[in-house]
Symmetry: D3
Subunit: 161 residues, 6 copies
């Protein structure tokens, strides 16, 4: 039997493998994640002056679409029937913060979908601002919370850097 906390993507021979969730019941799962695009005050100032705030809106849409493709991008992820994806994008003091929330009713969780959503949204922010500053950085991509499944609720206990 598999021990709690082992690398479940590896079988006994050390080959990578997909976790078998065939025997597990479909239950409601949720995950929330975060990413940050740090940029110079000059770049940020131009972003804020943009009349329609669209870079953030396009990043949100790209993040939502990206979450739906998680199983295509991450080799050992299961394809899941997602019931909700939300991505928020907001201008902070030193950059743009991306927050995602993803839900499903399935036999496995949606942590990777939540992380993929913010990562793709952050890449889109980078793409839309890179003509101003190629030195931007995407930082602090991490899980904030997950709910549901055998291990129940998990919450990040210190903020992302």
């Amino acid at each position: 039997m598999k021990q709690q906390g082992e690398l479940s993507h590896y079988d006994r021979q050390g080959r990578a493998r997909m976790v078998d969730v065939s025997g597990k019941a479909a239950t409601r799962r949720q995950a929330r994640a975060r990413a940050f695009v740090s940029m110079s005050p000059e770049t940020l100032a131009r972003l804020a002056r943009n009349p329609k705030g669209n870079p953030l809106e396009i990043a949100r849409i790209a993040g939502i679409s990206g979450a739906k493709r998680t199983a295509e991008l991450i080799p050992l992820c299961h394809p899941l029937p997602l019931t909700h994806i939300d991505v928020e994008a907001r201008v902070c003091e030193n950059g743009v913060e991306l927050l995602s929330s993803v839900s499903t009713t399935a036999a496995t969780g949606v942590e990777m979908e939540a992380l993929t959503a913010v990562a793709v949204a952050a890449l889109t922010v980078y793409d839309m601002c890179k003509a101003l500053d190629r030195g931007m950085e995407i930082t602090a991509v991490g899980l904030l919370e997950k709910r549901g499944g055998r291990s129940g609720v998990w919450r990040r206990n210190k903020p992302c850097r």
Copy 2:
């Protein structure tokens, strides 16, 4: 005429738009990017003991495949005929470093392809280790260098955080 350094993804009305590269000649372009997955010493120790080192190899393959899908993920990116994609993954003191290099002969650069490669590779490392530690973070996703095109060579002048 467009001024140097303006947000080229926006037109005069503030609507997001794809940059028109129809008039530009196809020239050789290259970009290199980096990401880091920070993890606890315990998680890292188990990673290193894995007999075949496969998590890194799968992350590399996922990053290469991810780079080919950049234009599907990032709404305003051009589809480009990539001539080379390389992703390196190596175990460092506090986590796993991902490095990418992407090349093309095209009318626009491959910065987003290089960044997408390391982002997808980093997400894959996260996925493969998350049973051990959900608190891992992806940090310091940034461009290291780009070559080719009208603006020539650009190099990051301070290390990613």
Copy 3:
């Protein structure tokens, strides 16, 4: 609580968002849609003389395949496990009519899948005949009927134009 008939893709701040169907039970849903490719009698005559009737068959296959990709094309659509997709293509007096029927057992409906099926089928008919006539038009793409879900049966009460 959300009022009947509001734009459910928008939240209170006016940001576009995916409808959250996490709390809804999976029930059987069906939708039927229609599109029309209007073409000149000359183009239509050559279509009809084509010995194997294949343009229609390929359009049907493209429509079925297209329906499966609805959630990739339409940003706020949910990925759904479709249980049946049918596309019919038939030669009429002034063009080619496309009819689709899509079914699922899910927490949300398949109207967009049915519409995407006929739209992709119609684009394929256009593609296969465009060497004869670039002036063809796709018209009257609309929902004919949907069944299942809280709002029950809906039927178009006047024909598409």
Copy 4:
């Protein structure tokens, strides 16, 4: 030798086939297309009152992304390195008009890419308004103009219906 105006997607046995453009030089090509989503004044009024005008912006982004996937959706289309895609969405008296413009430097034209862009944008408008009115129709999807290639310029000589 193939006659001008024949169904070039068919070979002599009547089997559908991709047009062979291997011998043709890559030249600059452009195409523009149009679609219309007709809706009731009530639906349109609510659309206009939406504070950020986002439905149109999301439709535009979906159309741009959709154009990049034309060769995946339409079986006999060639994959092309598109150099520009633009989609405009504007509120008219009886609905929303979508206009696209697509460019490439390739051995074949981008008519299907321009048509796919407006079709996907129109489907997205439908999706975002369907909670208000399922009876909307997508009409008048047609090519407006194409430039480049052996047959030169073609322009629609009567308006779409």
Copy 5:
């Protein structure tokens, strides 16, 4: 009523159609398949000397990813929420054997997913070795076993050639 053993992908008019599984209950299904890449002893010897055995590992990952895309590749396949995909690759006397196992809880089986997994894995082995020998062949792609569904267990009663 449809007779046992008829070509269920065809309707009465001879048009190809997707099988309608809307009325069927979701039950647990499994399928196993096999493929073989035959190669010369010289090619095989170099494969075996490769220090990390990676060609097989990459083929395995490609096969797992490929299985998830079955419904995109095979026009009349249903999209299914796969709960497990495993691909094994092993060096034999005259080549490389690929074995897959795929599971779901769905209204239809996963035979095509299992076959697609080994086919894509075999193509990847070919790709990685083709610089040494273009004359390799992929042979004996077949189903080994399927379980679940109305027709129950089926097992191949003679070995693949």
Copy 6:
């Protein structure tokens, strides 16, 4: 310098890598491949009696579409702007033979695209006939010929098994 005939997908450390074709000129390339679906006389007889011969037509379309997705399926393949894809399907004494021909003007060849075309076409034939006979086998998937590139013409010198 790399020696003729080495496994070019491996670098000196044994990590799999994409071949770098950045320095190579785009020249005209072609490849032809073959696959065979062997089936019982009973299955074959029913296939032949199908009034419209569609299974073969759908397999052809699936093969053409599949070739366009080669770089998504095979991790180390380059995305290429294919200028022609043809797939033939014909009924033989003991099954169905699939033949493909793929062309491009690019810095690398299209062997994998030709092989993917016949493999996907063969899987589609299997899918459409599996209700009659699950014991069918896909055999003899191999390259017939490739032209262009530094190594010039290569032809299979003995028939596939």
